[in-house]
Amino acid sequence: MPKASAVVFSVTIGRVSCFTAFDPVPRKTMIQHQWYFRDQLITTKRLHLRPPKWATYSSIQPRQADVGPWRVDVIDPEGNVIRSLRFSIVQ
């Protein structure tokens, strides 16, 4: 399980991760973590899921310019948004 789960992170923390856990996972598949800063897509991480259940994560290393509201969209293989996780990077 992730440590220090929060919705606000200091830019000095060094790394912010988005953990996602799936149970069950019927077959081997792939999801995406799309990281948005102020509605602008910054990066897309492709992550594998394997049966029977799987947890996976992606991270960013925020800099001063990244201070502000962020969002991670978790996307299924069909392109649907499964969940949106919202947080902020602050000073």
Binding site: V7, D39, R86
Partner: protein
């Protein structure tokens, strides 16, 4: 026909009024001042002005300057030197007569009465001096005397010169059929080359006729001879017939009132036509002869029937207009007088190609559009729509090192915004105002305003524009998890 259509293209009602008004002014000036020295000087000034225009056209810079100076000075001189003559013309007639009246001199001098009186006096060897005023005022040259204003008759006229009559020494001034003044002193001629028999009376007659257009009848006291002084010359009138002929030759009592009126009407009609022709020629010389073209960069104004329509982008903001018209009109063209208005009433969301035609361009009268560059504007239009957006807290400030915000909820979680369709395509989140961490309310609840972005997006009418945020603060757990940028693991 092409030449005519070119000349009359863009002919406005103001142009007709311009020509008519100036023609009328010219005509009235002629009617009021014709035959006077003022008119002759004005004619000279007009000739000088024409010369000056020719000098400008030929590029004779110094000549045109000199002529311009002379004209300016001459105009002043007219007013100063001829002030009495101008005043007499203007004062002698009321406003209606100045603006409209025809200056017919219907009351002609009764020549029979004058001739009777003259030869009656001549027979009795009574000296006499009669001034028959024509057009010019005699106020400045004939001095003194007594104003009579009496109806002319041969008896009255003769009686004024009888020896012993109080006014018999001076001249009588006759204007039309009235004796205006008697006992008047006339200026003496300075000419030394005169017959020896001419006395003071003859010298005065010649003197006045030299200075004015008046006709002066002089009766010699010694010899009983009759003479007529006109233009500085004395003509002998040995009998009634010769005197009558001399008077008629100078337009005094020459015709019946009806004939004079007809002749005068024809003359004035001709003058009116001449005035119109002259002014029209001058007008066309200025307004059409000096046709020129200027290029003006005009800003485009968009007329939006629907105030919610957003103009996202326009390919250009100004168009270059080539405008034609008279030089003076174009030189005085003010940027505010040129307007390019494009109506977006028929435009739809997306890119619209709108033609810039003369229908979209507003120009002052007399100025015509020659060319537009470019003639098509691409305008990207956005139609207003509403969109439901999730609300996200925009945390700011500095997070204390010993605490974490472990959770936060927003109520309501969404709100509606209104803005351009294309613009809202890019907008996925509605943010709150900055929630400053340095001064968080310990209650864990805060009310925050919604701040739509970009600025043209607004919270939809009726939709919540404030939210309640509930957050959870917890002590920070120590240590970094040391995870990579991306990773996965079986969750067992």
């Amino acid at each position: 026909m092409d030449i005519l259509s070119t000349i009359f293209k863009g002919f406005r009602w103001q142009d007709i009024a311009d020509i008519a008004l100036n023609s009328y002014i010219l005509f009235r000036l002629y009617a009021l001042f014709r035959g006077t020295n003022v008119f002759r000087i004005i004619t000279g000034i007009v000739l000088l002005w024409i010369l000056q225009q020719v000098a400008v056209w030929l590029g004779l810079i110094v000549t045109s300057w000199v002529l311009q100076g002379i004209i300016a000075v001459a105009a002043l001189i007219i007013i100063v030197v001829f002030r009495n003559e101008i005043r007499s013309v203007l004062q002698a007639q009321n406003l209606r007569a100045i603006l409209w009246g025809t200056p017919f001199r219907l009351a002609s001098a009764p020549t029979e009465d004058i001739v009777d009186a003259v030869f009656s006096l001549a027979r009795q060897s009574i000296g006499a001096l009669m001034v028959l005023q024509v057009k010019e005022s005699l106020d400045d040259v004939a001095q003194g005397g007594v104003t009579l204003g009496a109806q002319l008759s041969s008896e009255l006229l003769a009686s004024l010169f009888w020896t012993g009559a109080p006014l018999h020494d001076g001249a009588v001034i006759i204007n039309g059929d009235r004796i205006e003044r008697a006992g008047v002193i006339l200026p003496l001629s300075q000419d030394n080359d005169m017959p020896q028999e001419y006395g003071t009376r003859h010298r005065a007659a010649i003197g006045l006729s030299e200075m004015t257009d008046a006709l002066v009848i002089v009766v010699s006291e010694e010899r009983g001879e009759v003479g007529v002084a006109v233009g500085g010359q004395i003509y002998e009138a040995p009998d009634r017939t010769v005197l009558s002929q001399l008077l008629m030759a100078h337009g005094i009592g020459a015709a019946t009132s009806g004939q004079r009126e007809t002749a005068e009407t024809i003359r004035m009609g001709f003058s009116a036509v001449f005035s119109i022709v002259v002014v029209a020629m001058v007008w066309f010389t200025f307004s059409r002869g000096l046709e020129s073209i200027v290029t003006v960069d005009a800003p485009i104004e968009y007329i939006k029937r629907n105030p919610d329509v957003e103009i996202i982008k326009a390919s250009i903001n100004t168009v270059s207009l080539s405008l034609g018209g008279s030089g003076p009109l174009l030189r005085n063209l003010h940027p505010d007088q040129v307007k390019v208005r494009l109506d977006l009433g028929g435009a739809s969301a997306g890119v619209n190609a709108i033609s810039v035609t003369s229908d979209n361009i507003s120009l002052p009268p007399g100025v015509v559009l020659k060319h537009v560059q470019p003639d098509v504007v691409e305008v990207t239009i956005d139609q207003p729509v509403e969109k439901e957006l999730p609300i996200q807290i925009d945390w700011g400030g500095t997070l204390p090192p010993d605490v974490m915000i472990t959770g936060a909820t927003v109520a309501p979680p969404t709100s509606r915004v209104k803005g351009g369709y294309q613009l809202l395509q890019q907008v996925q989140t509605l943010y709150t105002e900055k929630i400053i961490l340095d001064r968080l309310d310990p209650s864990g609840t805060v009310i925050a305003k919604l701040v739509p972005y970009p600025a043209s997006v607004r919270v939809a009418p009726g939709a919540p524009d404030r939210v309640e945020i509930q957050f959870t603060v917890a002590p920070r757990e120590g240590g970094d998890n040391g995870a990579d940028t991306a990773g996965d693991s079986p969750d067992r």
